[in-house]
Amino acid sequence: MAGLSYRSALRIAGRELRFSRGKFFFVILSVAIGVAALTGVRGFSTSFRAALLDRARSIMAADLSARMFQQPTPEEQKGLDAIAAESVQITPVTEMLSMASSAKTLDPLLVSLKAVDPSLYPFYGEVELQPAGSLRQVLKNDTVVVADDLLVRLRLNVGDSLKIGNRIFRIAAVVVNEPDRLSGNFAAGPRVFISREGLDASGLLAPGSHAGQRYLFKVPKPKDGTPISEKAVESLKDRLEKLLPESQVIDYRETNPALTQGLDRATSLLSLMSLVALVLGAVGVAMAMRAHLEQRLDSIAIMKSLGAGSAEIIRIYLLQTLLLGLLGGLLGVGFGALVQMAFPYFLGKLFGVPTAVHLQWRTVMTGLGAGILTTLLFTLPPLLDIRSVRPILILRRAVEESADPFLAGLRKKLTNNLSQIAAVVLILTGLAVIATTLSDSATVGRVFSFGLVTVLAVLLAACALLLAALRQFLAKTRLRLPSAMRHGLANLYRPGNPSAALLAAVGLGVMQIMSVFLVQQSVVRELHLSSAPNLPNVFLVDITTKEVAGVEKLLKAQPSVTAEPELLPVVSSRIVAIDGVPATRASLKNFPRRMLRSISLTSFPQAPAGTTVVEGAWWNAQEQKPVVAIAQRVAERLGVHVGSKVTFAAQDTEIVATVVALTKADGQHTFSRAEFFLPRPVLNGLPVVWYGGVHSDPKRVGELQRALYQSFPTVTVINVAQALETVRSVVIQITYVIQFLAAFSVFAGVVILASAVAGTRYRRIREVVVLKTLGATRARIAAVFSIEFAVLGLVAGLVGVIFANIVARVLLGRMSIAFHFPWAWNGLALLATAAATVATGWAASFRVLGQKPLEVLREE
C-alpha cells in the first residue's frame, strides 16, 4: 500500500478534530491549564524576584562594595579601569570622622562625614531629603546635607553655614533616609554628606588620615530585560577579591542576612512551585491524552482493519496529538500571560507589591516546550503500542492477561517495548533539562529532579501494591460484601482501567500540592519571625558605663520605644597575633590589615538573641579562662577556626584567647554587630563603652533623639528605622506573594487533578446504561461510583501525603528550617483528597446519570 502522505494524515487528523470538537476542547483545555500554571507562576515569580533583588540592593546602594583603607595602587587602579571599561559602574564613597563647627556655637562637634559623587551615588535606592529633592541637585561643591541631630546639637537650620576642615559649606537639606546606612560605619557623630570635590577642597583628606574608603560597583543590566544574574555579581566579586587583596569585598546579599535568607527561601519556594506547576501540568496533559487516545481506539481499529499500516496510524495520531499539544500550549501561554499580568495588578492593589512585568521569551518557550514534550511523552508510547495490536483486540476491548510470572513478564515487556522506552527516556531527558532551567535554586532543582523519578517509581509501586492488597481482600470477601461496596471496589480493577496510573497521577498531584503547602507554611512562619516588628531600629553609640543605667531608664520611659532596649558593652582592642604569627605577617583573606587595629570585644554570658553558634560550643557561665567566640564570616577572613589562638591587646593588657565557637548573626539585633565575644571576667578592668539598640516607632525617632540629646548629649543616635522598614516590608511582601502563589498552585493543581478524574468519565457511560437497564437507580450507581472514587482518593491521598511530608522535610532541612509533622493538616489533606475525588467523580458522571439509556446505546 502506498504510504499515507503527511498531508493526508494531517487532513484526517484535522477532520477528526473538527468532528468531535467538544471532546477535543476538553483535552486542549487540560493541556492549556497545565501550561498556563507553568508560565504564569514561572513568569510572575521571575519578575517578582527581580523586583525584590532590586530592593535588596538598595540596602547597599550597589551590587558590590569593596572597603579599603588606602588609595588603590597603580596596578589596582588599572584593574578597576578595566572593569569600568566593561560598563560596570564604579563610584567611591569615603567615610571619615571630622570636626564641624558653626558660627552660632563655639564648640566644634564630631561628625561622620560621607563623601559621595552625587551623579552616581546611590546606584540603587534613594537618598531621602527634607525638603524633598534629589541628592544630585542639592549636593554641590559648596553644600552639605546633614542629619537632623546635627541641626539639633549645633542649633542650626537648613540654609545656615557649617565649617568643615578649612572650608565653609551651606547646609542644603536634611537627610531623612540613606539607603545604605546599615552597611556603612556606625561611627559616633551625626551624618554629614559632602561631595567629593567638597571633601578635596576641605583639605581633610591628608595622607595618613583615618578615612575609610568603599568602592561601590554596579553590574550592567542585561539588554533583554532579564534581571542581573547572580552569577555576574558572583564573578565580579571573585575578580575584585583577587584584584584588591587588602580590601573587604561584600555583595548586597551579605548586608542583611535576614533579607538574604528570606530571598533565598522565597527563591527555593518559587522554584519548587514552578517545578510543581510543570509536573502538575504534565499530569493534566497525560490524563487528558490518555482519555483521548482511548477514545480513538475504535477509529484506529477500523483503520487497521481497512489495511492502514501502523506507521500511517501513528503518523495521523502523532500529528493530531501534536496539534492538540500545540493548541493547548498556545492557549496555555496566553492564559499564563494573562495570569502574569493579573498577579501584579492584584498584588499591587492589595499589598502594594511593586513588580515590573515583562513576558520573557524563555518562559514562553519553556511553557510551550513542556506542554508539547509532555503531550508526546504520554502519547508516543501508547501510539507505538498500536504496532503490535490486532484490531479485534481493540474492538473487543479485550485485555490479554499475561500468564508469565511477574519478573519474566516484566523482562518480556521491557524487551518488547524498547522503542517506547527509548522514546520515554529521550522525552524525560528533555523535561529534566526544562526542570533544571526552571529552578533558580540549585538545591530545589537537585532534590526535585532526583526525587521526582524516585518518587514516581515508588508511587507507582506503592499504588500497585495497595491495589493488589485490596484485590486480595476483595477476592477473599467477595460475595459477603454488600453489593454496592463489592461493585465499587471491583470497578478499580476494570480491565484496561489505568487505576494504578490514575492513582499515581492523583498521588503525585496531592504530593506536590501538599509539599508546596507544607514548605510554604514553614517558610512563612520563619519569615514572620524574622520580620518581627520589635527589632531594634535605632542604635546608640558611645554610652559610658556611668551613663548606661540612665540611658536605659530614659529609653524605657519613652512612649515611642516599644521593646526592651538591647545594650552591648564594647572594649576597644586590636589583634596582635593569630596562632602566634604577628598581625603584620598574618595571612588574611580580604580583611584590611588596618582593621586589625580596631577590634571591638564584647562579653556575653550566652549567645545573645539573634546570634547562633554554628561551630564549636559557647562556654559555660563560670568560665574564667580566655576563650573567644568569633563571627564565622570574620573567622574565615582571619583564617582562624575552633582551637586557634588569637592574641588581643587592649590598653596594655594582652589576652591570648582560644577560639571555642564560631557564630552567625541574623543582622537584626544590636548584638549582630558584635564579632568577638569573651567571658566577662576576662574583660574585667578594661575600659568599656556601651552600644545600644531600641525599637522605636519609625515616625517618632526624632522625639527620641531630642530626649536623649537633652540628657546625654555625647551619645550618638543612628537611625536605621527607614532602612529596616525597607527590609521588613520586603520580607512581608515575600510572604504575601509566596502565600498567594502557593494558593494559586494548590488551586491549579486541584483543577488539573479534577480534570484527570473527570477524564475517566467516558469509560463509565456504557456501564451506567447497562446498570440502568438492569434496574439500578441513580442513587445506587452514585453509591457504586462514590465507593470507587473514595477508595481511589484515600489511597492516592495517603501515598501523596506521606511523600509530601518526606519532600517537605528534606527541603526544609536544606533551608535549615525545622519541620514539624502537621497531624491536623495531613488528616485534612487526606479527607479533602477523598472528598474532592468523589465530588469530581460525581460532577463528571452527573450528566451521564441523567441520560436516557437509549441515547447512549444508539450511539454505539
Binding site: 492477561e401 447497562v770 446498570l771 437497564t773 441513580r778 436516557k852 446505546l857 444508539r858
Partner: protein, 242 residues
Amino acid sequence: MTEGSTMIEVEGLSKSIRNGARTVDILKGISFAVPRGQFVAIMGSSGSGKSTLLGLLAGLDSPSAGEVRLNGTAISYLPEDQLAKVRGKTVGFVFQSYQLVPTLTALENVLLPYELNTEDANNQEGQKRARELLNSVGLSDRLDHYPVQLSGGEQQRVALARAFILRPPIVLADEPTGNLDTTNGSHVLELLLHLNRSLGTTLVLVTHDPVLAGYADRRIVLRDGAVISDEIQQPASFMVAT
C-alpha cells in the same frame, strides 16, 4: 391477572429526534397489544425503527408522543429512578452486544439485577438462582470468570441468565444472536425459547432474520417507523443446527 390478559400495550407511540435543523421521525404512531406469554418477533430492515421501539418498550427512553403500558403500568413519562424500578422488576433485557459489566464475574453479573431490585440482604436465594441459571446455560464451570475471559457466545449466555434471574414477566431481546456465529446463535436462541416457555415469559425479539422470526407466535413488521404487517403465525418447531 388471567391467562391471555394484556402484558404490553402500545398506544400511538411516536419518537422523533432532532438531527441538527432536521427532525427525523423514527416511529410514527404505533399501536399494538401483546398478551401474556406471547412470543413476538419484530422485524424490519435497518433503520425501520425496531430497536427504538424495543428501547421504548423497556423504558430506556421517553417517547415523543403516545404511551407504553407494561403489565398495566404506564411507564413512558415516569421519572428515571421509578422507571429503573419498573424495568428491574418487569423487564429482562438482552442486548446484541451482551453489555456485561466488565469488572464483575459471570456469577456477579447474573446476580446484579437481583441485588439491585430485591431487599434480600444476604442474597442466598439470588446466589442459588444465579448458579442454577448459569448451570442451565451450560456455564457452571465459568462462574468466577470475568467477561473478557469468555467467548462471545458464553457472554451472551451469561446475559441471558442475567435477563431471567428476577423471573420477569417480560423479556426483550435486541438481535440477541446478531453478533454470534450460527452454532452459537442457535444455542442462545434455544436457551431463550426454553427459558421463555418454562417460565411463561412474554418475549419480544427484534431481528431482521426471517428464520429467527419463524419461531415466534406473532410477527410484526416495521417500515419507516410504521407497522406494515402484524400476523399471528404457527411457530416453526425448533431444531438446533449442528
